[in-house]
């Protein structure tokens, strides 16, 4: 491996650095003398015969070297002597040729071959690229094939299977709703949880960079995976600090494909999928069980002692019993679900010669969720252009996208609540509004979920987006490059919901106020500009210097407009013009935010003799969200690395092909916070004016002294490849300190505001990650390879110095029905707090609690709460295996999760705590069978009762160990000889199954409002 190619590894430098390096530059100018050898020629690419620009041509062991020009020509002069001439270029295999004083002619045409594996060893940070071997940061890069092999849904879904540090939070509430943006995090949380609503943005969300520009998670979710070239996850300070105060949650860098040179090439990629709801976690009663449960719970026993009521209740029970005898046992869960058919297509045409390259693409995706009426359609057109002339290159990526989504208007839980002893349809086969209509206070009125579902209700949204990213590059000299970028994106989203006037929620509403239409429009404009200078040079064969310096600014403005109208009279005719008026006290909604940021950044890398590595970053950030007292903030990081395999003592060893030890420290920050938290704002007290006119009072108290949340991040890691490249191992240990935390704190009443954005306390996180891959069979020449991989991650966080700042959250958590999160010093953000339980007293059926001092008590006291578990598992990761045999590949990946706990809300709410209203909903089977009674004294749950309130205790906290079949895939790449006649240059097929099964030690209902899905996808790729 030669080091000169590093020069072209895009790395960037501070302006100030330029003059500094001028000295080096002039010193390295070629000395001329009489006995000069002159080698001339052209370097071309083996694949398309195009000239390669910027190939370094050097005399090995000497300081003489040149670089090919724009036509791939070079002219190398050096004192005449025999020498080895090395041609190197990033992404290509080195070419070494002996010069024997007379074979000048053989140097006229040099052909270089692309090295596929080497490209993967480049870390793309979005600001600069660096070879993995000379980079000290902790990062992981995945190519499109790897991403698509494990899943075809979206980039993020695949990343969670590939990297242990990337987590996508499973939402028990929203399941696999395709329109719900997931919560994602890298290496755990850095901000106080539960404040997402207050901030408006998820303060734990990583930064997403698409083709060098900041973007939103939604854009990434919508991005057609077939357009992606690579994804890089930046984890530690050394790799993320270039993004300064936005980087403490990690960075995900996504590069889309750039058009390839050559004749016009057309490719088509398609995914055709089927997804089915996974209802295995539901454990609901059947008709007979439910009636029995209701009877035991006393639904049919009159408590007022009126014999007349008792007769009516008996009659009701008998009627239901008769229905059951007639065979009524309705399975409601099947009603709202369907097999979702998903198809995605991508057509891309690319080509061009050396000066102009172009790519035009069209993508369409239609994701049909597993619930009826749940759809997500995306249409995306893109034009990529690259124009290169002289020392300048202009490239532009234009994307226009259109999105349409629809959501079901009746939540899945409504169906889960419906009792199985009701019929779905009446005798005429129609849907009745009520399954049961209560008269004379007998029972409780129950609405048929099918009624609301069959009405003309909708919840839909559409969005139009335009993104144009322009990059101008000036190759000033062979070592120095200047780049200016400007990105603009505009999006308009329009959300509309409509509830029919016949909807059951309007039963109690006056005739002229039934029905509701609401509309929200969101307009967003983002622009970002960046100017940077990049420098890279190898000095005296041993000192590799890379530097980048630049300036960046961004502006993000958003306007939200909304209104509602009501008073519809008809179900079918639903235009807003049929509304009768606006809701009482309704007023137009308007919200505006404007966020701006500027920054200056410098990154430098130094490598000595390929062995010792050093990186540093510095960034000065200013953001409008922070007060004048704290507007600017410094971010720094230092990384050190040691390429052990380059040491002399390992130089001749065949065992280690790669062995790097690295470490880094830095303090990236977080600015995922609301736009105006630092400023006091006022509003009109519109409810009254007086003779003096209008008045204004404080709306929100800003905190101008608010300090940026920053996370000091430490990482120590090692990357190893050994046993003839058969074993890959990456290990990382990290710890980080977020200090100060930024949070919305509940204040004393006398402060004049109930809450204020403040800095409070710290959060400390420690963890490790490991990725291990072994290839028991490894015959790359025959294209036979068998990989087994396993990765694992562990992390633990705790709060410090938060004192009483979160007492209000703690109090509301204590008094809430299911809240088990508390904020105390030393406590973990993911800890489960509850009073310990010694179980149910077999004699009395009462729950026995364990007090703080260890004594037993029958009375629940919230102050006895202790940590009874942690939802964060001890270890979580993926293991899997892939077999490549010629063109065939078979892979499977399983997620395991060991050593965490969960507060089982199904048991808590659907087995116990079934109140007087809930008793009319269908419940978990265990509510009937596992309950204490004089005949079942060893039961885990209290006796059946409607009135008894169960408190949060450790009885509902369970060890959760799970195994999920996350991905199975079979792929086949058709060999050349088979497809050549069809004029196809590449053809591949793949079958992917995701989330096939899930085995857990805890049985808890998942997918409350929307079920989870399993899916099978067939993918096809053709290139003509």
């Amino acid at each position: 491996m030669n080091m000169i190619d590093m020069k072209w590894n895009v790395s960037h430098s501070v302006v100030a650095f330029i003059t500094f390096f001028l000295l080096f530059m002039s010193g390295s100018a070629l000395a001329q003398n009489s006995g000069t050898a002159v080698l001339k020629g052209t370097v071309t690419d083996s694949s398309d015969g195009f000239p390669l620009i910027g190939v370094s041509v050097i005399v090995e062991g000497k300081k003489y070297g040149v670089i090919t020009d724009l036509d791939g020509n070079y002219e190398l002069r050096f004192p005449k002597q025999t020498a080895t001439i090395v041609f190197s270029y990033v992404g290509y295999d080195d070419v070494e040729k002996e010069y024997n004083l007379k074979n000048e002619a053989s140097f006229s045409k040099i052909v270089m071959y692309m090295n596929a594996t080497e490209l993967e060893d480049v870390i793309v940070t979005g600001v600069y690229e660096r070879k993995k071997e000379s980079f000290t940061g902790a990062s992981a890069t995945f190519k499109t094939d790897q991403l698509k092999a494990v899943g075809t849904n979206n980039v993020l879904q695949s990343l969670k299977t590939l990297d242990p540090s990337f987590k996508m939070m499973e939402s028990a509430q929203f399941g696999s709703n395709p329109n719900m943006m997931p919560d994602v995090e890298i290496r755990g949380k850095t901000s106080v949880m539960g404040l997402k609503e207050e901030y408006g943005t998820d303060p734990n969300q990583p930064l997403f960079i698409l083709d060098g520009f900041e973007t939103t998670i939604e854009t990434i979710m919508n991005l057609n995976m077939n357009r992606v070239a690579s994804v890089t996850i930046l984890k530690d300070a050394a790799s993320t600090a270039i993004y300064g105060s936005k980087a403490s949650n990690g960075v995900v860098v996504i590069e889309t494909k750039a058009p390839a040179r050559g004749r016009l090439q057309l490719s088509y990629k398609g995914d055709y999928g089927l997804s089915m709801a996974d209802l295995t976690d539901y454990n609901l009663m059947n008709a007979r069980e439910k009636l029995q449960f209701e009877t035991l719970a006393g639904v049919y026993t009159d408590r007022s002692g009126s014999p007349f009521t008792q007769i009516q209740l008996d009659a009701l029970r008998n009627e239901r019993l008769k229905e059951i005898e007639r065979g009524v046992d309705t399975y409601w869960l099947s009603e709202p679900i369907r097999s979702g058919v998903t198809h995605k297509h991508n057509i891309y045409a690319e080509g061009g010669e050396d000066k102009i390259r172009y790519g035009i693409g069209l993508s369409y995706g239609n994701v049909a969720g597993v619930m009826k009426g749940s759809d997500r359609q995306t249409l995306e057109g893109n034009v990529d252009l690259i124009y290169r002339t002289g020392k300048f290159q202009f490239s532009n990526k234009l994307t226009i996208d259109y999105l349409e989504t629809a959501n079901p208007t009746v939540s899945f839980s409504e169906y889960a609540y419906a009792n199985p002893y009701y019929r779905k349809y009446n005798a005429l086969g129609k849907v009745d509004k009520y399954l049961y209509y209560s008269e004379d206070g007998i029972g409780s009125t129950v609405t048929n979920p099918l009624w609301d579902a069959h009405l003309n209700n909708w919840d839909k949204a559409s969005g139009f987006g335009f993104t144009n990213n322009f990059i101008f590059e000036w190759f000033v000299t062979e070592d120095l490059r200047m780049r200016a970028k400007f990105g603009l994106s505009k999006s308009d989203d329009d959300e509309q919901t409509r509830l029919s006037p016949l909807h059951s929620s309007f039963d109690e509403v006056g005739e002229t106020e039934k029905g509701l239409y609401s509309r929200t429009q969101i307009q967003q404009l983002v622009y970002e500009g960046d100017v940077s200078v990049t420098f890279g040079k190898l000095i005296a064969q041993k000192h590799m210097l890379n530097a980048v310096g630049g300036f960046n600014f961004s502006n993000n403005s958003q306007h939200v407009y909304g209104y509602s109208a009501n008073g519809f009279t008809d179900d079918q005719f639903d235009a807003p013009s049929f509304a009768n008026g606006y809701p009482v006290d309704g007023k137009p909604d308007y919200r505006e935010t404007l966020k701006r940021a500027v920054s200056f950044y410098v990154n430098g890398g130094y490598v000595y003799d390929d062995r010792y590595l050093m990186d540093f970053n510095y960034r000065l950030d200013g953001a409008s969200m922070f007060g004048t007292g704290n507007r600017f903030r410094n971010t720094w990081s230092v990384g050190l690395g040691w390429n052990v395999h380059k040491e002399h003592f390992l130089k001749d060893n065949d065992f280690f092909s790669f062995f790097k030890i690295r470490g880094s420290v830095g303090n990236p920050g977080n600015q995922n916070f609301s736009a105006y938290q630092a400023f006091s704002t006022y509003k009109f007290n519109g409810w009254m004016t007086n003779i003096f006119g209008t008045g204004v009072i404080l709306n929100a108290l800003g905190n101008a002294e608010l300090a940026w949340q920053e996370t000091v991040n430490y990482d120590i890691g090692a990357d190893l490849t050994f046993w003839g490249e058969r074993v890959n191992l990456t290990l990382d240990y990290f710890w980080k300190d977020t200090d100060p935390l930024l949070a919305i704190i509940t204040t004393r009443g006398s402060m004049g505001v109930t809450s204020v954005a403040m800095n409070a306390g710290r959060q400390h996180t420690k963890g490790w990650e490991a990725t291990f891959k072994i290839s028991p069979i490894y015959r790359p020449a025959e294209r036979i390879n068998w990989n087994i991989s396993i990765n694992a991650a562990h992390s633990r966080s705790r709060y410090a110095d938060i004192g009483n700042a979160f007492s209000a959250l703690n109090e509301s958590g204590k008094s809430s029905l299911v809240g088990t999160t508390r904020y105390y010093d030393g406590g973990s953000p993911t800890a489960i707090w509850a009073v310990r339980s010694a179980g149910i007293d077999p004699a009395t059926g009462q729950e026995v609690f364990i007090k703080k001092d260890g004594s037993y008590s029958l009375t629940y006291d919230v102050s006895d709460e202790v940590v009874v578990g942690d939802t964060q598992p001890s270890v979580e990761g993926i293991f899997g295996s892939t077999l490549y045999f010629k063109g065939l590949s078979v892979g499977c990946y399983f997620r395991y999760r060991v050593g965490g706990q969960v507060f089982n809300t199904s048991l808590f709410q659907k087995v116990e705590n079934i109140g007087t209203e809930d008793v009319y909903n269908n419940q978990d089977k265990r509510a009937l069978y596992d309950r204490w009674s004089p005949d079942n004294r060893e039961a885990y749950f209290k006796g059946i009762s409607m009135v008894q309130k169960t408190e949060k205790s450790s009885r509902f906290v369970m060890d959760e160990n799970t195994l999920t079949g996350e991905s199975v895939n079979i792929g086949y790449e058709f060999p050349d000889r088979m497809i050549r006649r069809l004029r196809i240059s590449a053809l591949n097929l793949q079958l992917t199954m995701t989330d096939m099964f899930r085995a857990s030690t805890v049985r808890v209902e998942r997918g409350i409002d929307y079920p989870f899905a399993r899916s099978v996808t067939m993918s096809l790729g053709i290139t003509f």
């Binding site: 302006v15 330029i18 000033v476 940021a597 006022y682 003779i691 505001v753």
Partner: protein, 490 residues
């Protein structure tokens, strides 16, 4: 060739450096973004009008239910002062019954008191934000407006703290060194400590004194309250002085607070200053014709005597929500018949009660067997500013303060009470006792939220009808409300 290269690099360097320089200096300005859907502080407080709007906003907010538009004028504190008959039907009176038994710990009253506390302090914060910003903005103001706005904001801050101290603080005459409430004398992100009542008293005094100095050029001293719309289209900011904390209102607050803090000498001095101003015509006693002449259109609040009042655009709701006899079967506030006929408006020379009293004639109207309180009922002339006024401090109270403060011996104040009585169409008292002074307070300030504080100041039994079990014996648990949850828990 090489030189050119170097030169080109130099140019590049200079160019880049200058770009950087321009960008750096421009950055700070560029980062100063202002919200559009809310009013940014810098925008609001960049003009004189902005300060006027903020000041007016604070006055308007004082009309909220949890402050003087309900709880602290006609409702909560008056119940605590035993002013109303509490009915026996728990469904209607439940929470009021709890309060009449001083059960401050009930969920309902804890929440209500918390609400009052939070609102009062949020307005104190508004005052402090105004005061913090106004200091460096003197150049924005014309005429005497800087002094007036600053003075009024200080006085508002003092008044709100004073009322919180009277509610939540100790009985001052007995435990002035006891911990009471926090005092926010500046905008602060740090919670202020709870201090002894005597220290709060000093801070209130200090603020009021400073306000009085700032308001010393107040036109009220020469032109009176100017309650008639000039209608010429000019700014009314310096008109309608009784709707704002004018010079005399601050002086009257000094008298009221001095008496509460046991400084009778100052109380007398400031009360007399207001009385003197009244004698000079700045404040005038109600015109007899307005209260007796036309019964359809009486000036029930004796508006010309009001030194400071809030202006509530829907003031009639105070009558409709609390006193209107047509509210039955819902709760209606009224005075106990026995108390009315034996002490307040009856009882002869010992009590000073008389049915000839203007205050009785205009404000107590019979429906069935009971008389109902019409002080907040609208006049027929509805457009009149008088119909919006909620009196906060009035001339009559100055006479009563003077009487109480004249000497340690209460009887020495007789002449002040008798002067006041002469303007109420009733005969003079022959002797002044604590009891008949209290009756006079009740007659004068009924429904204005002062009676409870009178009892608390005097640490005397709270008068109630014998049906309700007779007077409430003075005790700390009656007079001292525990600090709200939001104050202790966070």
């Amino acid at each position: 060739m090489r030189e050119m290269k170097i030169m080109r690099r130099n140019i590049l360097y200079v160019l880049a450096a200058s770009v950087c320089l321009i960008l750096t200096t421009g950055c700070s300005e560029w980062l100063d973004v202002k919200p559009y859907d809310k009013i940014a502080e810098d925008d609001l407080l960049s003009t004189e009008e902005g300060y006027m709007k903020l000041l007016n906003g604070i006055y308007i907010e004082l009309n909220r239910d949890m402050l003087y538009g309900g709880a602290l004028s006609v409702e909560m504190v008056e119940i605590m002062g035993g002013a109303y008959v509490i009915g026996s039907d728990n469904a209607v009176w439940g929470n009021y019954r709890d309060l009449s038994e001083y059960k401050y710990g009930s969920d309902y009253w804890r929440a209500r008191l918390n609400e009052t506390w939070n609102k009062a302090y949020s307005l104190i914060l508004n005052c402090n934000l105004l005061l913090e910003n106004i200091e460096g903005s003197r150049h924005l103001f014309t005429e005497d407006n800087f002094n007036v706005i600053k003075g009024e904001a200080l006085a508002l801050r003092a008044m709100l703290h004073f009322d919180m101290l009277r509610l939540f603080g100790p009985v001052f005459s007995r435990n002035s060194s006891q911990q009471s409430i926090p005092y926010y004398k500046a905008y602060s992100m740090e919670p202020q400590p709870i201090r002894p009542a005597v220290e709060i008293a000093e801070l209130i005094w200090h603020d009021l004194m400073e306000a009085r100095i700032l308001l010393s050029q107040d036109p009220v001293r020469t032109d009176g309250m100017m309650m008639d719309d000039v209608g010429s289209g000019t700014s009314v900011f310096m008109k309608y002085r009784s709707l704002r904390l004018n010079y005399y209102a601050v002086t009257a607050l000094l008298a009221r607070s001095a008496l509460y803090f046991g400084n009778k000498e100052s109380a007398l001095r400031y009360a007399l200053e207001v009385i003197e101003a009244a004698k000079n015509g700045v404040i005038s006693f109600v015109d007899k014709s307005l209260v007796t002449g036309s019964p359809d259109d009486p000036d029930r609040i004796f508006s010309s005597e009001v030194i400071f009042a809030l202006s509530h655009s829907q003031r009639n709701s105070l009558f409709k929500d609390y006193y209107d006899p047509s509210r039955i079967p819902n709760f209606v506030f009224r005075m106990d018949n026995e108390m009315m006929s034996n002490m307040i408006y009856g009882g002869g020379m010992t009590t000073g009660g008389s049915l000839d009293d203007y205050r009785y004639r205009v404000n107590w109207v019979a429906t069935g067997a009971n008389r109902y309180f019409y002080k907040y009922s609208d006049m027929v002339d509805t457009g009149n500013i008088r119909n919006t006024m909620i009196p906060m401090i009035r001339l009559g109270e100055m006479y009563l303060i003077a009487a109480e403060a004249k000497s340690e011996d209460i009887s020495a104040g007789l002449s002040y009470v008798n002067t006041l009585r002469s303007y109420r169409g009733v005969n003079p008292l022959s002797a002044l006792t604590r009891e008949n002074l209290q009756y006079e307070y009740i007659r004068e300030l009924y429904g204005e939220g002062q009676i409870f504080f009178m009892y608390k100041r005097m640490f005397s039994p709270i008068l109630r009808s014998s049906q309700a079990g007779g007077p409430v014996e003075p005790e700390d648990k009656v007079f001292v409300i525990p600090l709200p949850d939001s104050e202790i828990e966070n």
